[in-house]
Symmetry: C2
Subunit: 249 residues, 2 copies
């Protein structure tokens, strides 16, 4: 076949049912939009593989994809042609040739997500697609103290399930960074790990915000982790605040 190419992809996840194409047609997926644009531009069917299978409503600024394509012009021209073809809520950049054995998911060394929240008694229409509204300011120092307990190699079974859904698969992940930053009424949680379980970031954010509200102490985060009990954490932070910002290889 043609050349193997990798690229970065950004999308506004609001109007997608997720990154990954689904067997049953339940709505727009980023993968299907990318494949449709590639098929139109390259005049042949192209399969796209992504690094992270983001959920419905989750955004990306640094998703990584790879595909093989017959393309005789420059990769810059391919990028321009794709962006002219893609809907306005998806864009590709940084197209470059890659090894035939490069796999966006299996070759990845780490992924970084950022979760954004804002503190406001009243909802803010300009932030609603990209951030979670917290009605009262949480205790960010306590949230950071709890977040530190997550750093390192742990069994995160309490915070998510293996993506395959197979019980025998490991739920051990290594978290390299986990901290909250603030500016005015905004809060950002940055988490980097070798890989993530299904819904792990949104469950961690929910648990940490509960710490920030005084519902759990930072020590209870460690208890939850050790319990490996997925029933311990109630709820899930909304998808809109989550963004896949980087994948390292």
């Amino acid at each position: 076949m043609g050349l193997k190419i990798r690229a970065k992809v950004a999308y506004d996840g609001t109007d997608f049912v997720g990154f990954q194409r689904q067997a049953a047609q339940r709505g727009r997926t980023v993968q299907a939009e990318l494949e449709a644009a590639l098929e139109r531009v390259c005049q042949s069917r192209v399969a796209v593989v992504g690094a992270g299978r983001t959920d419905a409503g989750v955004h990306a600024t640094g998703q990584v994809i790879a595909f093989e394509a017959d393309w005789r012009h420059s990769l810059e021209a391919l990028g321009r042609a794709l962006n002219a073809t893609l809907p306005e809520d998806v864009a590709v950049r940084d197209l470059e040739p890659c090894d035939a054995d490069f796999h966006p998911r299996f070759s990845a060394k780490s992924r970084t997500y950022v979760y954004t929240a804002y503190v406001s008694a009243v909802r803010q229409p300009l932030l609603r697609r990209f951030a979670w509204q917290l009605e009262q300011r949480p205790d960010v120092a306590a949230m950071n103290e709890a977040a530190r307990r997550l750093i390192g190699s742990h069994d995160f079974a309490a915070f998510g399930s293996a993506p395959s859904g197979r019980a025998e698969e490991t739920t051990v992940r290594e978290v390299l960074r986990a901290d909250w930053q603030t500016a005015d009424d905004r809060l950002w949680f940055t988490i980097e790990a070798n890989a993530f379980l299904f819904r792990m970031v949104r469950r961690i954010v929910m648990a940490l915000v509960r710490v920030g509200r005084g519902e759990y102490g930072p020590d209870e985060i460690e208890d939850m982790l050790e319990s490996r009990d997925a029933q311990r954490i109630k709820g899930l932070a909304p998808a809109c605040g989550l963004c896949l910002v980087d994948v390292k290889y």
Copy 2:
């Protein structure tokens, strides 16, 4: 009638044809959404007056409105009821009683708009609703030099027409602040004036970005101003970058 109330309004202008209700039903307006919510909550027809008649696609974080309503509970409860009734792209806050002669437009001493742009060779889907994409970094120092020429009392006929459309109406306005700030790939233009002409901010932004691209020198902005010739400035910055952030009384 009832109590006269003022409030601040924020909206994502993307899916509106503008703030002001239109004689012909051509799409959603912020005013009509506010009046519909007030009618539902107060159980009587309520007319809303706004400070600024923002265009289609223009946003607000600090629009000011006033209305008279029969309401027997607290204004905080009215705000909560309205926000529960309004669509998710509009929200009200800071409701307070005001004098019967308070008029959001005629009583205003100044308005402040912020225009947001970003520099990126590739469009960024997460910014598309709220910022103008500039493919190359403009010369911000030159833009600020040109912007300084606009400060003070001038006839801005070259940059817009009187809102009424009547030729005899003055096109003199007093600009109190006009400057660009930058952070990473973002640019913000903040402009405060006693009042604005129709499309004045977007025409000023377009002219200043042309200065930043080297198409005009900062002196030409002064020539344009003195010419009072609306034909001198080609084009209009896109509505999506513009936001009404504050109205002072």
